[in-house]
Symmetry: C2
Subunit: 377 residues, 2 copies
């Protein structure tokens, strides 16, 4: 018998109770019954995002929310800073390019967080900058950026800060209102414990003022249409009814555990994974590790792509490899969403078995032992 | 006890087996396991669309596929014919407007099909026209257009024909390749028997050549990115894994029944509903009724909005009212997807009970009797 464990940074495991709610008979979306569900979900999202701002829900992947941020807030010819420290920073830059926004890229070495001072300097040098795009957790490298530090700088200017928190939300602390983060993008299939198919965008007054003036073409992701509907607990296009129903359930679970505890749990699992990696003689990749996902360097003598494949195909444990130039050089174990200590121990056990098989030298059990030490501390 | 019956033209009931497949544990999308599922779904879609063309699957509502058609095939300043005979024809026109496409609208009285001759004349008068947008079933009025007739005209020109088959597919015959329909847009929550959250677009070579030249800005719905991925049974952004899994199941069910039988079933339910309406002294609204949904005029003396509300709130039967200027003037009963004779009889029974209550004069049972006559003919 082989069981499947999904421990890549998204999609993440979905609680059985959420899956069952998603599987309930479909209801019509233009009814008070659905409006109540949607209202509950929209209110609950505010708890997750730490905000009183409006949050819009799209039937799309997280990339849809990222595109929505660009095309609703900016106008043709606008200039914006994009922090690029991995695949997802690059995505913001690509979206800007697609819409004729001049992206002033701050390229950060993959695995390093951005220095907020660099953003401060660029903003001071160029008063024309309309927005700063940054990533809470850069999934491709498992690196957390200092969003509080960045927000502190951007909020003192006319630019708006747009944060991709797709993989970071519910894993790394994000205080949208307290830190003055203008826009937050998220997706359903990470810390929210849902299948992929929903995306979210929270937006404050400062950014909504730019929405009113934006001249980029849009329709499906037009926030003005969403705003008009949201005020009636409605959406402009047919919503993904089943997933929104599941969202209500997963929010209930997160509320019950309490966001502080959710974050502490992610930190605990991440710490255990880091300690285990070190005990196995492995090196961590990120200089500023996120609690969403831990990136570990593949030891010399081991084929990184084979490591990931063996863990999945032979042992049923799906982790992620490296992307782009990191292909084969790192592997990534997620701690996202519906995960507890025993899931992390499973991942580490499978890693040990696989490393042994691929010829890496270490004391069997030392990784699991180090993780148990963290869990019992 | 009150049971809920969803008989509006989308979302439609989802078979229990499909819901259960959607509720299966989530798998990672960058794996051969998912690729096999996606390949099976993509192949199956070709059966549903009657085509050998590529079909792209988006995580979005049907409107996303409509936007994808506009922004990928046209370029700024292009001119296109839009047939507007209801809410959904208008949507194509609105999307064109949002992207600076000059929409040459052919406005058709709601409830009437477009005369293909009008399209022929416009195309002859203006050799610059790049596309013709038409609707298979205009959901807002329950009206079927003569897509074969339109395709016959458009295929002889350089323009491409883009058909919104969101509510029509699997209910009204659509022979994409045989009729030379260049592009077909669809959504999951109608005849495909799935929850909302997926959209589809089939596209032939003639239209793909325009895609290569299109200069409108796009990212999430960029068909070039989807095409590059599709050739590897992949998608550019995280797909709605659960819904795609459900799609495989619903395609299996449709294949097993056979498309001819599926279409015949929809026709049978639609005919029964029409005969029932007439027997109840009611008038049909559409001059060219679709088999997806039957629109019926609200009889004088009856409050149409109250009729729809009573059926839903008191009897659990969700049908749709009229939209825009038809609000309160028509009601619409769908035959879409996972529906059999007894569902239609339930709708007619609830209609009879409600009409009686609201003071309409007729012989109780005459509607159901007329429907039974159709079913036993």
């Amino acid at each position: 018998m082989k069981k499947n464990y999904i421990m890549a940074p998204g999609p993440t495991p979905v609680p059985e109770d959420v899956l069952l709610d998603i599987a309930k008979p479909i209801i019509h979306h233009r009814t008070s019954q659905y409006q109540e569900i949607f209202k509950k979900a929209s209110e609950g999202l505010k708890y997750l995002f730490n905000t009183k701002n409006d949050i819009f829900t799209f039937a799309s992947s997280g990339t849809g929310a990222m595109e929505a941020a660009v095309i609703n807030i900016l106008s043709s010819g606008d200039k914006a800073i994009v922090v690029r420290g991995g695949k997802f920073g690059e995505r913001f830059s690509d979206i800007c390019k697609a819409y004729g926004i001049e992206a002033i890229n701050i390229d950060v070495e993959w695995g390093k967080p951005v220095d907020p001072g660099l953003i401060k300097k660029r903003l001071a040098d160029n008063k024309d900058l309309k927005a700063v795009f940054a990533t809470l957790c850069e999934t491709s490298t498992g690196t957390k950026n200092d969003i509080q530090g960045i927000a502190n700088i951007v909020s003192a200017t006319n630019a708006v800060l747009i944060v991709d928190a797709v993989s970071g939300l519910c894993a790394d602390d994000l205080r949208t209102d307290e830190w003055k983060v203008d826009v937050v993008c998220c997706g359903s299939q990470k810390g929210m414990m849902l299948p992929p198919g929903l995306a979210f965008l929270s937006i404050n007054k400062k950014a909504m003022e730019k929405v009113a003036k934006s001249n980029l073409p849009k329709y499906y992701f037009d926030l003005k249409a969403y705003k008009k509907s949201l005020d009636k607990n409605d959406v402009p296009w047919t919503p993904a009814v089943g997933l929104v129903r599941g969202l209500c359930k997963s929010i209930d679970m997160i509320r019950e555990e309490g966001m502080e505890n959710v974050l502490a749990r992610h930190a605990r699992l991440a710490n255990a994974t880091k300690e285990a990696a070190k005990a196995l003689g492995l090196e961590l990749f990120s200089a500023s590790p996120s609690n969403a996902v831990t990136a570990v360097k593949v030891p010399s003598g081991v084929d990184g792509q084979n490591l990931v494949k063996t863990m999945r195909n032979k042992y049923g444990v799906t982790i992620a490899g490296g992307q782009a130039h990191l292909k084969g050089k790192i592997f990534r174990i997620a701690h996202l969403g519906y995960m507890v200590e025993f899931d992390t121990l499973t991942a580490i056990s499978a890693l040990e078995i696989t490393l042994k098989e691929l010829g890496h030298k270490f004391t069997l059990g030392s990784g699991v032992g180090a993780a148990l030490k963290v869990f019992t501390a």
